[in-house]
């Protein structure tokens, strides 16, 4: 099971192992990571699972589609590496991935 390192806006980290094939959002919700909400359950409708993929890992993550990209344009504090974590599916290549989280999802 790949390792995900969640990093809160103030630098606190939490390590979580999750099954390959689950989304980063689901891994966060299942492990009580409160910086990620995932209100719509992962259907790319709410943008409350906004995260920052660590630049070193961006190449291992499939790119955002146009709906996700439009939503990301309107989140609080967007960055180049912003993603909706419900749209990022965990693969074996992502073992050790670092996921930053914004201060707020609203």
């Amino acid at each position: 099971m790949p390792l995900i390192i969640f990093k809160s806006h103030d630098g606190e980290t939490k390590e979580v192992h999750a099954e390959t094939g689950t989304s980063i959002m689901q891994a966060a919700v299942d492990n009580g990571i409160d910086g990620i909400l995932g209100e719509c359950g992962g259907c790319c409708s709410c943008a409350t699972c906004h995260c920052y993929v660590d630049p070193a890992w961006v190449a291992k993550v499939s790119p955002a589609d146009s709906t996700e990209a439009d939503m990301l344009e309107c989140v609080l504090e967007p960055k180049e590496t912003s993603r909706l974590s419900c749209q990022v599916t965990l693969t074996d290549e992502m073992d050790g991935i670092i996921i930053g989280m914004p201060k707020s999802q609203y």
């Binding site: 259907c43 344009e73 309107c74």
Partner: protein
């Protein structure tokens, strides 16, 4: 006695409430009692991704199966509560077992409204609220078969889209003069009627149902005008009613739902309630609301958990909703009821991407955004933070939507 929070009901609000209680530092026992045999699961995919087989049962779970054990949350599933004894502070289960609580949360949700159509007991007639219902429909679905859907609301239309996806012929029967009449503007109803028609659905409005026909198995639906539409499967989606009976029997105040204050407390402050079953005051719209939505279940449950942990916060979230049909992603921010003006941004008559903004006395109150995530996101934030919108800019698709709002 040690602290014990019992949560009655095991759906969206319950899962969030239990999880939030731990996050807020609740150290006592937590028990979730639910009458379905399943761990809390996402209901929206029942008419969509789960219905067409794109999501498995495991993928419906709101929290992973081991979440509850890891967080020391007891699940009593397939277990019905028969009553609440407020004086003794305990719940009594159907088998007469008693469990004492120090705090009780009622998250019993809503159940489908059942209309006793003649023939509604026939095999092949379903409602779409519970996992059990939807699992059974699979025996009656299949390419080339026919379905009739009674009710042109969101559930009916989502199910119609799913059934078309698996190659069934679909007719939607709506009693009112347009689909989604209760919740959208005529322009949005016309849009959904057009798209469903383009996708091959036969939509009949102003149509009453006389009877569901068949011997043991459904074979059709007879309309009030005498025409019969053949059907291998009938799905009824005509709304829900809140599950308030257990609260009412316990003497809690009921007012179109279980009445709760801004901290999710009933008139008994050791008993809270959250989600579809509640009626609460919304400060943004300055009126009492009973909402049927995941957002409300989740957000109100968070407030309830804080209250239980002694952190009083006011519930003032903006309602929002979504509905996925075909390639259409509808996102709704705010409540459109009471609108006196609609502004359409984009082309609702021939494209599949536009936004309908709802105004009341010149003030923006809601948006239906179809394949327009930016319009949804900006409006959701504007309504939450009290920004005002310029109606002329809202209507002008050449202007960036962000520029239509001012603080």
């Amino acid at each position: 006695m040690s602290e014990h929070c019992i949560i009655i009901g095991a759906s969206h609000a319950a899962a969030q409430l239990a999880s939030s209680l731990r996050q807020e530092g609740w150290e006592g026992k937590i028990s979730i009692v639910g009458d379905e045999p399943y761990m809390p699961y996402h209901r929206p995919p029942l008419s969509k991704a789960f219905f067409v087989g794109e999501k498995t049962e495991d993928e419906l779970l709101i929290r992973a199966a081991n979440f509850y054990e890891k967080n020391n949350i007891d699940l009593l599933l397939g277990c019905r509560v028969s009553r609440i004894d407020r004086d003794a502070k305990k719940i009594i289960l159907q088998d007469d077992a008693e469990i004492a609580y120090t705090k009780l949360a009622i998250t019993t949700g809503a159940r489908v409204r059942k209309i006793p159509f003649k023939g509604s007991e026939l095999a092949g007639v379903f409602y779409m609220r519970d996992l059990n219902d939807v699992k059974q429909t699979h025996k009656f679905t299949g390419k080339g078969k026919s379905a009739v859907i009674i009710g042109g609301g969101y559930i009916g239309l989502e199910t119609a889209a799913s059934l078309r996806k698996i190659g069934m012929s679909v007719t939607v029967i709506e009693a009112m003069s347009r689909v989604l009449q209760r919740v959208t503007a005529p322009e949005v109803s016309a849009f959904y009627t057009r798209v469903h028609t383009e996708e091959g659905v036969d939509i009949r409005t102003d149509a009453g149902v006389d009877a569901i026909t068949g011997d043991q198995h459904v074979d059709g639906v007879r309309l009030s005008d005498g025409t019969t539409i053949p059907a291998d499967l009938v799905i009824i989606g005509v709304g829900v009613i809140p599950n308030i009976e257990i609260a009412e029997a316990a003497g809690l105040t009921i007012d179109n739902g279980i009445a709760v204050d801004e901290h999710a407390r009933t008139n008994d402050h050791d008993i809270l309630a959250a989600g579809d079953c509640t009626n609460h005051y919304n400060p943004i719209y300055q009126r009492k609301l009973r909402l049927e939505s995941v957002q409300n279940a989740t957000d109100q449950a968070k407030i309830a958990a804080k209250t239980i942990c002694g952190k009083l916060e006011v519930y003032n979230a903006l309602p929002w909703f979504w509905s996925d049909q075909y390639d259409l992603k509808l996102q709704i921010a705010g409540l459109s009821q009471g609108f006196d003006q609609v502004i359409i941004r984009g082309d609702s008559e021939s494209s599949r991407s536009f936004a309908a903004f709802y105004l009341c006395e010149g003030r923006l109150i809601a948006v239906d955004a179809i394949n327009r995530p930016k319009e949804f996101m900006t409006t959701k934030r504007a309504l939450s933070t009290g920004q005002t919108a310029d109606p002329i800019k809202l209507a002008d698709d050449s202007i960036d939507i962000k520029d239509a709002f001012t603080n």
